[in-house]
């Protein structure tokens, strides 16, 4: 197992290199160049100011050379500096934004799984019942609803009409004057709506997968034998069927790990949450190449680790699969 994991990690390195190379080329293929404020015309003077930076950032060199320079820096774990006027290190910029995005997305996925699994199981075991039909409609409505529209509706309802929840941001503007516990409560209340919006859409996928997977498992012979053995239905479903039905969910979970840091762009923009999604969109508009490349490295690494974890988790959960062992 360990050998397998190590081998996979070693193989991941050329993979990451390949990913960064292709990404680098694609980013530079996009028309437009850094030094523009999106939406505002830049004077020739500002352009000349940018020209100075061009040399400093090696943008006047040929592309392969630029890539090589970036790679050498990466080997020292230095992601370079942003092209924006503040010129801050990319690592600091990402470091500022990553925690909140991770927090939001991890909580979101946990809630989705915590809700989707029971919904899926119950829908499967009570197939075509009123519960099944209702939840089907409910999750598909959630799937079809555009996030920003739902967000605005919730803001109007909970923020303006009922006044229960704050509308946007992470903290109240005067939060530094609150007591410690009030500050935590304030922070949590700011997260409620974004998480609600994010989970509503994601529920559909997971609950349907769960339902489908459960339906297949429940028809298997070993379920029948378990029942025949006299086991309580609760044990049959909850222990034997569930374990097998969870396998596809694990795969999907693992594959969605990379989205933990990038997918919440719309939610972050509407709710004014300073996260990675916003950072990436801003960087894309401004053609802030170092920030874009830095983020890509993160996502690529995360994806590969996630895949590895998925495979290992699989082998742990499913006794039929043993990774790395040679078959005799």
């Amino acid at each position: 197992m360990l050998a397998y994991a190590l081998r996979r990690l070693v193989l991941a390195i050329p993979l990451i290199l390949g990913i960064t190379l292709i990404s680098f080329m694609v980013i530079h293929l996009a028309p437009g160049e850094p030094g523009q404020t999106p939406g505002e015309m830049v004077t020739a003077e500002a352009k000349r100011a940018y020209e100075q930076l061009k040399v400093e950032y090696h943008l006047d060199r040929p592309l392969p050379e630029q890539y090589w320079i970036w790679l050498k820096r990466l080997a020292r774990l230095d992601l370079g500096r942003s092209f924006a006027p503040h010129g801050r290190p990319v690592l600091s910029m990402i470091g500022e934004r990553l925690p909140i995005t991770l927090l939001l997305n991890i909580v979101e996925i946990l809630i989705i799984v915590a809700l989707a699994v029971p919904i899926g199981v119950l829908s499967a075991t009570r197939q075509y019942s009123a519960f099944d039909k209702f939840t089907t409609i409910f999750v598909f409505v959630g799937f079809a609803t555009p996030e920003f529209w739902l967000a605005l509706l919730l803001m109007i309802l909970f923020g303006i009409q009922l006044g229960w929840l704050p509308i946007s941001g992470l903290r109240s503007p005067t939060a530094e004057y609150f007591t410690f516990w009030r500050q935590q409560l304030d922070f949590l209340s700011h997260l409620v709506m974004p998480i609600m919006v994010a989970t509503f859409g994601g529920l559909a996928g997971y609950s349907r997968y769960m339902r489908q997977s459960m339906l297949e498992v429940v028809r298997q012979d070993y379920i029948q034998s378990a029942r025949a053995k006299g086991l309580a239905e609760r044990v049959v479903i909850g222990k034997h069927a569930l374990r097998n039905a969870l396998l596809p969910i694990i795969t999907i979970l693992a594959l969605s790990l990379p989205t933990l840091i990038g997918s919440s762009v719309i939610v972050e923009s509407i709710f004014a949450i300073p996260g990675m999604g916003q950072l990436m969109v801003q960087a894309a508009y401004e053609r802030d190449y170092p920030v874009l490349m830095g983020n890509l490295v993160f996502v690529a690494t995360l994806t590969l680790i996630a895949n590895l974890m998925a495979d290992i988790a699989y082998s742990l959960v499913d006794p039929r699969i043993r990774v790395g062992r040679r078959r005799r």
Binding site: T37, E40, T43, A46, A49, Y50, G159, P274, Q278, L279
Partner: protein
């Protein structure tokens, strides 16, 4: 407080012309509403702040925050007149080449150190340092040297007369030598703490903290030389969605923001809103236009351009796109500003005249689809604009429909901003554009109309070439005698209106809304922020206690 907006031609919001207030309730002389210290002002911005040294940034969010922290030597008053700020008085020499400033005594930096003339010299050095990537170096390009004659007197010597001299010392934020000297020498101003974590200025507010992408918090400066501001704190929130900002305004999470035309006219007239908010309206400093690529032989013909202008019903366009919240543009100068020639009439809506002019230019017959043809080619062109701007999209559609009536076919292309700029505007690979120009406080528009400014990185992207206009632009920008400048710009206005190198559409109004617990707001051509340190919230209305 500095209210001068960046000198670069970006959409700013100073204006002239009529301004009115929609709701009453701001008379400070009545009983309980006397000026009181306290409370917090919460503003919102769509864009992130990209740096805290205004010399290095060109985006409006960074400059709005900078306006709280820094001062210039002069600033703009309510009616766009130049008023003293760090300088109490100034005088030009007879030949317009020497400008002396007498500085206000007793001004201190936020860290307590005294402000002197040497800091002014330093600001000039830092901005013109070849290692500093400043978009404003051209403001100081004609300066030979800056001398501190004594700690309170600065002498600026120009190589040739520069009309914007005085104004350029208003838009420049004065920087502290004692904190930035070493960074400037190494060319590392961007990396100084001044740019991100600890900016030190002389302005009405001191920097407290900034959480990138979230908010900037400023606290009032008790030693501010013009008197401590009444409002104790300003929180500048960054909210990237216009819809969210509007909802926050309604939920009282934001105190001051600008409304869109639709919000102003249709969504803010209900009693609950009017009870808590004042709406203001003043003429903006940006106009929208349809620009032609004058290298295209069809558009090089003035009759064609004037015909297109006659074919567009600009009043309807104004009513449709911004619900009438603007004024028609006759030329590139703000309505009501001294450079505007009030006798210049706009191009009337006259489709028959349009047809006649086009016929004159050789576009006489129409083909089967109803399009004008000349030498076998139908008259069709591509109209481009940038993605993300709903108003420009609507304008493009209206122009398309209007021109179809006179037999010109228009294809609309909406392109993402950076690509539009790089692939089409800079390469001059376009037929026509719907874009906008922002005008600064000074009417000089050399960079937009002068024939020397049509390189790929310059702003005369329609490739306009008119020797008379060139002459007028040069006269306007190099004279320091007001009467001469007025004459030059009035003539320029006439010539451009006659020539129609682009179709001037309208000047958009700026529509701020502010919580009505704030007293002291006095809208004028310069907007409303020009006297922010004088705003106050009466004790009984204060909402946020600031520790």
């Amino acid at each position: 407080m500095r209210t001068l907006i960046a000198m670069s031609l970006v959409l700013s919001l100073a204006a002239t012309g009529g301004c009115n207030r929609e709701a009453a309730g701001s008379d400070p002389s009545t009983g309980p509403n006397t000026p009181a210290v306290g409370d917090t002002l919460i503003e919102a911005s769509i864009a992130n702040v990209s740096g805290l040294i205004p010399t290095l940034t060109s985006d409006s969010a960074s400059h709005e925050v900078g306006a709280y922290i820094y001062n210039g030597l002069v600033t703009l008053g309510r009616d766009l007149e130049i008023v003293p700020e760090l300088a109490d008085s100034w005088s030009f020499s007879k030949d317009c080449l020497t400008l002396d400033f007498k500085l206000h005594p007793g001004v201190r930096w936020h860290d307590g150190k005294p402000f002197t003339a040497d800091d002014v010299v330093f600001t000039w050095e830092a901005t013109t340092n070849p290692k500093t990537p400043s978009p404003y170096r051209s403001d100081f390009a004609d300066i030979d040297k800056v001398q501190a004659l004594d700690p309170l007197t600065v002498r600026v010597i120009y190589r040739k007369p520069y009309a914007k001299a005085l104004l350029s010392w208003g838009s420049a934020s004065i920087l502290p030598r004692h904190l930035l000297d070493s960074y400037n020498r190494d060319g590392k101003l961007r990396e100084s703490p001044q740019n991100w974590t600890a900016p030190v200025g002389t302005g009405p507010y001191r920097f407290k903290e900034m959480k990138s992408g979230e908010k900037v918090v400023l606290v009032s400066n008790p030693d501010y030389f013009q008197g401590q501001p009444y409002i104790s704190r300003v929180v500048y929130r960054i909210i990237p969605s216009q819809a969210t900002i509007f909802l926050e305004l309604k939920a009282k999470g934001v105190d001051l923001t600008r409304l869109t035309a639709l919000q102003y006219r249709r969504q803010t007239d209900y009693p609950a809103f009017l009870k808590s908010y004042n709406k203001f309206r003043y003429a903006g400093s940006g106009y929208t236009y349809v620009g032609f690529n004058l290298k295209d032989p069809r558009f090089a013909d003035r009759r064609v351009r004037r015909a297109i202008a006659h074919a567009i019903n600009r009043q309807d366009l104004l009513d449709g796109v911004v619900l009438g919240l603007g004024r028609l543009a006759t030329g590139p100068f703000r309505p009501g500003s001294w450079a505007e020639n009030p006798n210049v009439k706009g191009i009337s809506y006259d489709p028959r005249k349009a047809a006649a002019l086009l016929a004159d230019a050789g576009w006489k017959s129409k083909n089967a689809q109803g399009l004008l043809v000349k030498d076998g080619q139908p008259f069709t062109f591509e109209l481009m604009t940038n993605q993300g701007n709903d108003e420009r999209k609507k304008i493009a559609e209206i122009v398309q429909a209007s021109l179809r009536e006179v037999g010109i076919g228009v294809d609309i292309r909406i392109i993402e901003w950076a690509s539009l700029l790089k692939e089409h505007v800079k390469k001059r690979s376009f037929d026509a554009l719907v874009l906008g120009w922002g005008t600064g406080a000074d009417p000089d528009q050399f960079v937009v109309w002068h024939s020397s400014q049509s390189g790929p990185d310059d702003l005369n992207h329609i490739s306009y070439k008119n020797p008379e206009v060139d002459q007028l632009l040069e006269t306007g920008r190099s004279s320091c005698v007001q009467a001469d400048r007025v004459k030059a710009y009035h003539k320029l206005h006439e010539v451009l209106a006659e020539d129609q190198p682009l179709v001037f559409l309208y000047w958009q109004d700026v529509l701020p809304a502010a919580s009505n617990r704030i007293f002291g707001i006095d809208p004028g051509p310069a907007g409303i922020k020009w006297n922010e340190p004088k705003w106050f919230v009466p004790k009984h209305l204060q909402r946020y206690t600031s520790g």
